[in-house]
């Protein structure tokens, strides 16, 4: 089973005085859905870019199953905020794109792509063009595309940030179902507090200047949803509300100069 480890990672953009991330240590293993939550400027996206291999850390080590991460690769699937699908291919070809790059024969990759489309509830959408899809459908195609290449871990960069509230809730539930069925470790970044609390098995709260982890929480609301409890029941559970308010106060305490003591 896959294990991602970040050991004392720092990152700095060339020419910048302040590092974007300082001394981040994380691990992501099987059955985990790690959510990084933070305001803009806290280095969430930089953290994901480091793991994906789009940028290299200025200090520290990132390993996946003991092997150092060097550059982007098919072992870490990425779902982007703005779907980043290829409009010159239809939906099926987009989902099978990773397999096409790997040289998998057409029949085989189309079968696999159909399987993945069924997994994200888009079974009949294979021959649609990308611009005929809604925002939520595009994100589901993006998810299916990342999964089709059978990565060891899945990285999601604010995947539901551009969706309307109603679609976002549906997508969160879909993600939990997919996570449960594929058993892939997921690293997801978001700025939506309720989303973070609902999805995470482990939640890390990032603070800016420089980006650092200020709190880690072990949560089980996502697992409860995956075990069959309804999303509404979970979200109206006093424990859920309490956790959400706690995280909310932590986020606000970072912003204001005087942190509220009773919640700290």
């Amino acid at each position: 089973m896959a294990l991602l480890q970040l050991e004392r990672i720092s990152a700095q953009y060339p020419g910048a005085a302040e590092p974007v991330l300082a001394d981040i240590s994380l691990s992501l293993g099987p059955q985990q859905l790690l959510v990084a939550l933070g305001p803009s400027g806290s280095g969430k996206t930089s953290l994901l870019n480091l793991i994906a291999g789009f940028v290299t850390p200025s200090a520290g080590r990132i390993t996946l199953d003991g092997q150092a991460v060097q550059g982007p690769g098919a072992d870490r699937g990425v779902v982007f905020q703005d779907d980043a699908l290829l409009p010159w291919q239809d939906v099926l070809a987009n989902v099978g794109f990773g397999l096409e790059l790997a040289g998998v024969p057409r029949a085989q990759r189309e079968a696999r792509a159909r399987e993945m489309l069924a997994l994200v509830d888009l079974a009949d959408f294979g021959s649609r063009r990308i611009w005929q899809l809604s925002g939520g459908q595009k994100q589901r195609v993006g998810l299916a595309r990342a999964l089709a290449a059978d990565p060891r871990i899945l990285l999601m960069d604010e995947p539901f940030g551009a969706l309307d509230a109603f679609t976002r809730e549906q997508m969160q539930e879909l993600l939990l179902q997919v996570w449960q069925r594929t058993a892939k470790p997921v690293f997801l970044i978001t700025h939506d507090i309720e989303e973070a609390v609902f999805l995470a098995t482990e939640l890390v709260l990032l603070a800016p200047n420089p980006g650092q982890i200020v709190e880690r929480l072990q949560l089980d609301f996502g697992q409860r949803y995956a075990a069959g409890e309804s999303a509404r029941a979970i979200k109206s559970d006093p424990r859920f509300i309490e956790t959400r308010e706690h995280v909310l106060s932590r986020v606000f305490s970072q912003r204001s100069a005087t942190p509220r003591k009773e919640l700290a």
Partner: protein, 279 residues
């Protein structure tokens, strides 16, 4: 009362809405058609009334008659079809060569800093020079054969395609590049599967512009000791003051340019249907 009121208020609204829509969908095209018709009518009127001598402006009938004569008997030892064929062959050769060279060079310019440093000043240096200005140099270097004519048109087409390709490559969505990289794409696969299709709308626009410039360079190219071609036909007819052939030649050149532009637009719609769609 209200049940009576409703249809009364609904009817004028519906009646008003329909004609407005119809008038709008036709208007632009009808304005264009009317403009052309007015122009033709004015041409016919001034020549029929003999306000202008045929030497300066021959009548539409005379030009049409000349067209028939040129198609069957020819002018300067070639029929209109042979002149047209010669011109189309030249521009076709030049376009083919330009596409084969300008697209790879454009990709290199957009993708690679060193290639940009080499080709960018060269293209920007020769592009603004009018083809007639460097025509003598081409004749001195390459002679008066077919090569010089094709080369002149080629140079005119090359720059717009290379520049458009480079722009297209530079503006590829970085998220798409990253998406392909995270799916395991190599450098060559990135170019083949992401960069080239992303730049295709720009490349086709470059071809459209290039073809327009190339076609307008045709007359200049056919000044070089040509014995056939539309440009040559107009040029030699002008020397003998055969105005109807000159007018006919201009009309044919314009018609071909129009047809090329329309077919390229159709090709663009067919090849890049996603262009102009929001993502």
């Amino acid at each position: 009362m209200s049940s009576l009121d409703l249809p009364v208020t609904a009817k004028p609204a519906a009646a008003a809405a329909v004609p407005v829509k119809v008038r709008r969908s036709l208007s632009t095209r009808w304005i264009s058609v009317l403009t052309l018709a007015t122009l033709l009518l004015a041409w016919w009127a001034v020549t029929a009334a003999e306000w202008i001598e045929p030497l300066f402006l021959p009548s539409p009938e005379a030009v049409l008659g000349k067209a028939w004569l040129l198609m069957t008997q020819g002018y300067m030892e070639s029929t209109l079809w042979q002149h047209l064929g010669a011109s189309l062959q030249r521009i076709g050769l030049a376009l083919g060569a330009a596409i084969l060279t300008a697209i790879p060079i454009g990709i290199a310019i957009g993708h690679n800093r060193i290639a940009r440093g080499i080709f960018d000043p060269l293209i920007e240096f020769y592009r603004p020079i009018p083809p007639l200005a460097y025509l003598p140099l081409i004749v001195i270097w390459c002679g008066i054969g077919e090569l010089s004519k094709v080369l002149l048109i080629y140079l005119a087409i090359f720059a717009p395609i290379a520049i458009a390709t480079a722009t297209g490559v530079r503006t590829v969505d970085p998220a798409r590049l990253r998406a392909a990289q995270s799916l395991g794409a190599t450098r060559a696969q990135l170019i083949r599967h992401v960069i080239l299709p992303s730049a295709l709308p720009d490349i086709l626009t470059g071809v459209r512009i290039g073809l327009g410039v190339g076609w307008s360079t045709l007359v200049a190219a056919e000044l070089i000791a040509a014995t056939s071609g539309l440009g040559f036909m107009v040029q030699s007819a002008a020397q003998f003051l055969v105005t109807d052939v000159v007018v006919l030649g201009i009309l044919v050149i314009a018609l071909i340019a129009f047809a090329l532009e329309m077919s390229l637009r159709a090709l663009q719609r067919k090849l890049v249907p996603w262009h102009g769609q929001s993502h």
